[in-house]
Every structure is written in structure tokens, then in C-alpha cells.
Symmetry: C2
Subunit: 135 residues, 2 copies
DNA sequence: CGACTTTTGAGAACCATTGTCAAACCGAGG
DNA sequence: CCTCGGTTTGACAATGGTTCTCAAAAGTCG
């Protein structure tokens, strides 16, 4: 390290496209597919390639800034999230989402994993249903 | 109904292909993709079309005879299962699976749903990790 | 400004899954 | 054993979400 030190900073640049994706994400609070988000952006006047939307969403997900989960068809759906670990109650029809926490469940999961000597645990826990408005 | 009565029996026929899929399923106890199952069948000497494998697996899943869930890439994976409601602890590397039950989690999920007035609830809860053998 | 690196976009490529439809098959009567 | 009508199958095309490719465009920093 020559100067100060920060040898391999990923160097993520704040581009127009990334700002557009962020803005789109800020505009809804339910889960949307990448393509829906792409449409939203177009509708807002910006133009961002679909591949870029996918790339940006993946990056944000890795950084923990958005949640990505899969709907019952296996499609990836995304939304911005709070930074604490949580799960979701998602409306199958309109996508309306409630963030829920379940500390007891977390504990249960790690206990189960431990009992069976599984390491590097991750878990998925999502609840799907029909929200009051969609009944 | 003319004769006795049994108006719309689906009439599922026990064909060679369906038997082959069942046999393949009986041959492993971890989760496999449809394509892997298809390969397995070929390797066992039978010949069953891929589309038929998919159709049979879907049918079995609807009948509750196999579990279908999605791995972290969104691919459907399948295995035969016990008939009680349960979840899974799945090895990310080799697919080794442990069926686990969590009555407390079930209760927690329905309480959460009720609190938010969501109906027709379903939930997914799977734990992924690395099994002792794959460490 | 200039050199260098990251990012983008258009479209091709991938690949799991589902649809299509004629041919093969099954089971029940006759 | 033969026929009839619905069921199932398989080869292949078609879908559709997601990723890859690669040259052009845009940031970064001196």
C-alpha cells in the first residue's frame, strides 16, 4: 500500500442508472420483480437497461440494502428493506408486504442446525397470504 | 350418474413411466432437480421423457406425496416425504436433508398472519447449511 | 486534458419449465 | 381377443426469467 491504505476498494460509482434504480425502489414498499422495476423506471422517464437493473439489484442485495426472495413460481422479487434481519408476510395477489421479526424462530433454526451439526446456516422464512384489501 | 356413482374420478393410471419416477424417488432421500431425477431414471435403464418426469413430479407434489421446494437459485428440487407437515434442513453442497418439525413456528406464523388479517396463509421455511460430511 | 477502470446497453445465449399434438397406451365392454 | 374412448407420452418447439458478451460511454483522479 503506497499512499494511505485501502488496497481493494470495490469502487462503486454513483451513476445515473444506479440512482434511478434506488429511486424506483424508494417508490414502492412491496416486492416487485426486476422487470416490473425496470418498467417503473421507464415510466418515470429514465432509461436503464434491463441487465443493469439486474446487476444493480444484485449488488444492492449483496450489500444488504434490498431483500430478494422468490415468489411461488421461483421468480426473484425485490424491495428495499430495513437493515435488521427479518422476514415477510406477503400478499399473493397485490404484493403488499409486512416485515415481521421472529427472534424465537431464529433461535429455533440455529438450534436445529446445531443439533444436526450443520454449519454456515442460512434460512428462508416467508409467509404468503391474501391481504385484507384483496379478500 | 348412470351406474353406481363416481362422476369425475381423475383416473390416474399406473404406467411404466410413473412407476419409474416413483422408483427413482425411492432411491434417494435428498432433494434433486427434475433433470437429475430424469438422468437417474435413464441410468437405471428406463426411458422416460423429461416432460413426463415434470408432469409426474407435479402430480405427486399436488397429491402431497413429494415435497417440492426451491434452492437458492430458484430451481425446483424434489424428494419423497412423509405426509405430515414439516420443513427441511438441507445441505447446500450435497443436498443431504433432514426433515424437521416446528409446531411453535407454525403457531407463530398463523398468529402473525392473523394479526395482520391475512387469509389463506401458506409459508415456506427451509434451512440451508453445510452438513458435517461436507465441511 | 489524459490514462485507466468501471459501467452500461443491446442483443445473444442460457436453461429450467411448460405447451403442443399426433401416436401409443390403458382398461372396460362386447 | 377386438374395439372404443379417454389418458398418457414423447419429441420438439416455445416461453420467459436471468446472465453473458463486448465494444462504446462515462467516472475518477492526477
Amino acid at each position: 500500500m503506497t499512499s494511505t491504505d485501502q488496497p481493494q476498494r470495490p469502487a462503486v460509482r454513483p451513476t445515473r442508472q444506479r440512482r434511478a434504480v434506488a429511486a424506483a425502489l424508494a417508490g414502492f414498499d412491496d416486492f416487485r420483480s426486476a422487470q416490473e422495476i425496470h418498467d417503473l423506471i421507464s415510466r418515470q422517464g429514465d432509461s436503464v437497461g434491463l441487465a443493469t437493473v439486474y446487476r444493480t439489484l444484485s449488488t444492492l442485495a449483496e450489500a444488504g440494502e434490498v431483500d430478494m426472495l422468490r415468489n411461488e413460481d421461483g421468480e426473484a422479487i425485490w424491495r428495499s428493506c430495513s437493515d435488521t434481519h427479518h422476514h415477510h408476510l406477503v400478499c399473493r395477489t397485490c404484493g403488499a408486504t409486512v416485515e415481521v421479526e421472529g427472534p424465537a424462530v431464529e433461535r429455533w433454526a440455529s438450534r436445529i442446525a446445531e443439533e444436526h451439526a450443520y454449519a454456515e446456516i442460512s434460512h428462508t422464512l416467508e409467509i404468503f397470504g391474501t391481504c385484507p384489501a384483496c379478500r
